[in-house]
């Protein structure tokens, strides 16, 4: 039976085990004078039965599904006659794909050597056997688990504890999945980055001032030597992020102060969700807003005052990105300002301070760590933002501090490097991983600093 069909079957068995154990525990309790004579509620006996039925079966199923392919492949390969054994892993995979093509009927067995055709037959056979064994084993384990749980429904056995313990482990596994995924991503990026630094020296990457990742395909090609200096990209990123923060921090912070300290309940309950809606607008929408509305507007304005501006400018991207991250700043600041105890406000007001003096002298300093945390989170969001910059800031890697020029950012370069057909051994493609690594390190540092600041001052007013 297919794994996909086994899963719902295990689920059905678990539900059945739950129901049976539930009824059994009530039946056990009845002669004793009710369920309060059991160590645990019927729910716990039932839940334990369901868990014991499902979890071992699922683990076995997962293990089987995970190793099935490899084991069968190994068996097929070793069944080949000694003289045609593949010499390298590459060859082995070629032979295997030939075999499985024959087995799947895509390749006529008459066109391949006899040992391949034979192996294909064996492969099909093994697969069918494996499927049968798997089904029987999994169902058997599920049934045994349920049966064991059934025998353990007894008044003196505390099912509550084992259910609690199991649940705790399940939660832990879920948390671990997220962490392990992150670790996996980091390692895959590190691996490719190391390969990149094998082709391009790390000093050139970190300190080079020109970025032009087109490498020569042929030795005699002209004008495409490839330059991997990250500095123009980082200045572009920093320029746009700085503009974005210049927009978002004052607007976000002041609107947070208005919402938390001055606005009436009704205004607050309408305006806050509206502000947070800004965070829900897809970045691609911001992107074409920036590219089609803001950037031309800025160019025209610049021309009016006699400045030269390119039609894609860091300013346009930065402004729109600033609008996008306003809710990060305002929402988080609003929360931390609200978290400042009312007693501090009262204390200041009772001394005759006005509302704005109270804000400036008491609430703002008390909330500052949280506000800085919010700003740093917004900053890492700005640094990682791609879509707006692709559309509004351009691709030219100019090393400039002029916001009216077009610039490019780390994220944009990663996107353009990896869009389309790739060959994964060229420095051009690998440089995307190195850029990703740098970006990851920078945002990670920002987050660590943000957390440090928040933690250091968190309980100061408690």
């Amino acid at each position: 039976m297919q794994t996909a069909n086994l899963l719902p079957l295990i689920l059905v068995l678990a539900v059945a085990a739950y129901g049976l154990a539930f009824m059994r525990s009530r039946a056990v309790a009845a002669p004793l004078g009710g369920i309060r004579n059991l160590k645990a509620l019927p729910f716990y006996y039932a839940a334990r039965a369901a868990l014991w039925c499902a979890i071992p079966a699922l683990i076995v199923l997962a293990a089987w599904a995970g190793f099935e392919g490899k084991v069968i492949q190994g068996m097929v390969i070793s069944s080949l006659p000694q003289d045609v054994w593949p010499e390298s892993p590459g060859q082995a995979s070629l032979v295997l794909s030939q075999i499985s093509n024959v087995a799947a009927g895509k390749l006529n067995p008459e066109f391949v050597p006899e040992h391949i055709a034979g192996a294909a037959g064996l492969l099909e056979n093994l697969r069918a056997q494996s499927g049968t064994f798997k089904t029987i084993l999994v169902l058997l384990i599920a049934a045994l688990g349920a049966a064991f749980a059934w025998t353990r429904v007894a008044p003196h056995i505390n099912a509550r504890e084992s259910v609690e313990r199991t649940l705790r482990r399940i939660f832990f596994v879920c948390a671990a999945v997220a962490v392990l995924t992150t670790v996996g991503i980091v390692f895959s990026v590190i691996f490719e980055t190391v390969r990149f630094f094998g082709k391009v020296p790390i000093t050139e990457f970190l300190f080079g001032t020109s970025w032009s990742p087109q490498t020569a395909l042929r030795a005699d090609q002209v004008g495409a030597e490839g330059a991997f200096g990250i500095i123009p990209l980082f200045t572009g990123t920093l320029l746009i992020s700085a503009i974005a923060l210049l927009v978002a921090v004052p607007i976000g912070l002041l609107s947070a102060i208005y919402l938390s300290e001055y606005a009436s309940k009704r205004v607050r309950s309408t305006v806050k969700p509206l502000l947070e809606m800004l965070a829900g607008v897809p970045t691609v929408v911001y992107g074409f807003f920036a590219a089609l509305t803001v950037a031309p507007f800025i160019r025209d304005m610049a021309e009016l005052v006699g400045l030269e501006a390119s039609s894609q400018s860091a300013l346009a991207a930065g402004l729109v990105m600033g609008i996008m991250i306003i809710p990060f700043v305002s929402s988080l600041s609003d929360d931390v300002i609200n978290a400042v105890p009312q007693t501090l406000r009262d204390g200041s007001l009772a001394l005759g301070a006005t509302q704005s003096e109270t804000m400036k002298n008491v609430i703002f300093p008390a909330a500052l760590p949280g506000i800085i945390g919010g700003i740093l989170l917004a900053a890492s969001r700005a640094i990682g933002e791609t879509m707006i910059v692709v559309m509004a800031a351009g691709l030219a890697a100019n090393l400039t501090a002029n916001p009216l020029d077009s610039v490019t950012t780390v994220t944009v370069q990663i996107a353009t490097l990896l869009v389309g057909d790739q060959e994964f051994d060229s420095a051009k493609t690998l440089s995307a991983f190195a850029l990703g690594m740098m970006l990851f390190i920078v945002t990670l540092l920002l987050n660590v600093v943000a957390l440090k600041i928040v933690r250091k001052y968190r309980e100061q007013y408690d």
């Binding site: 007693t343 501090l344 009262d346 204390g347 200041s348 301070a353 008491v362 008390a366 007013y461």
Partner: protein, 297 residues
């Protein structure tokens, strides 16, 4: 004229005296009604600091304070006692308009501080609160240094022109609050690191620093241990020479120890106001008696 003289002379002129049902002495005392706007005892004083007439406070449609009239004499210590939710804190917070920050709260009636209307629409709340300071139930020092906490009020009111003036104000306030010797070597330490009792005395010093005329205290000792409480009470007694003090308290012993007069609140009514010794020895109203003898509350 001393406080007590002020009050008793006022008592003689008091308006149509409160109906005490002397005929029905044997009547079941629980039956004695709370009459709205009628307060037993000595609610009025000559030349009062606060003159409060027909005060009503509403939270939305809820009438939290029901037609209370009361005078608070100069340099008097008056305690507000009563069961939880009886409105004593609400009433206290009317005296420096701390209820303003609650949207749904409305205050009606006449509230005069030195014959100036507290709730006048043109009234400067900043000036009012500089004159009527407040100390809260939970010590609430700002998360700043001890020095900055005390200097906070003088700074926002511009009371000191030079650093040396400010230093002097801080030192004097801390001395008056009996805290100077404990903290003079660590004025730069954060106030939140002090003990609860020290924090509360710091809050008192902070209130004193703006030279108020009145200090309102909302259960100032409820978060303190007995030793810290004793220190704060001692402080209240000392301060009564120069300030008018209104104190809300749940501890009847505390009311008895520190106050000249005691006011008993019940469900938004001001049931009885009298000299403290009188309230605790021979209360006129049987609700007061029930409360102080512990029959409820």
């Amino acid at each position: 004229m001393s406080v007590n003289e002020t009050i008793s002379s006022a008592a003689e002129q008091r308006e149509a005296s409160v109906p005490v049902q002397d005929v029905a002495v044997e009547k079941k005392r629980e039956d004695m009604p709370v009459q709205e706007g009628k307060t037993v005892g000595l609610p009025y004083a000559d030349d009062p600091k606060f003159k409060l007439r027909n005060v009503e406070v509403f939270y939305g449609d809820d009438r939290a304070i029901k037609d209370i009239s009361l005078d608070i004499a100069r340099n008097e210590v008056i305690s507000f006692i009563g069961p939880s939710g009886c409105g004593k804190s609400t009433f206290l917070r009317c005296l420096n308009r701390m209820n303003d920050s609650i949207d749904i709260c409305r205050v009606k009636g006449q509230l005069m501080l030195d014959d100036e209307d507290i709730y006048h629409s043109k009234r400067d709340v900043v000036e009012l609160r500089a004159r009527v300071g407040m100390v809260f139930q939970k010590p609430n020092p700002f998360p700043k240094s001890i020095y900055d906490n005390v200097a906070y009020g003088p700074r926002i009111h511009g009371l000191a022109n030079r650093k040396s003036d400010l230093d002097e104000i801080v030192e004097n306030s801390l001395r008056k609050a009996g805290l100077w010797d404990e903290v003079k070597d660590r004025l730069d330490a954060t106030a939140t690191g002090m003990s609860g009792g020290q924090q509360q005395r710091l809050c008192i010093a902070r209130a004193i620093a703006v030279s108020p005329e009145v200090i309102l205290m909302d259960e100032p000792c409820s978060a303190l241990d007995p030793i810290a409480t004793a220190k704060v009470e001692e402080l209240i007694s000392e301060m009564s020479e120069s300030y008018t003090i209104v104190i809300v308290t749940h501890s009847m012993q505390q009311a008895a120890r520190v106050s000249h007069r005691t006011a008993y609140f019940h469900l938004g009514h001001l049931v009885e106001v009298n000299e403290t010794s009188k309230v605790f020895t021979s209360p006129e109203h049987e609700l007061t008696e029930s409360y102080i003898t512990g029959r409820f509350g």
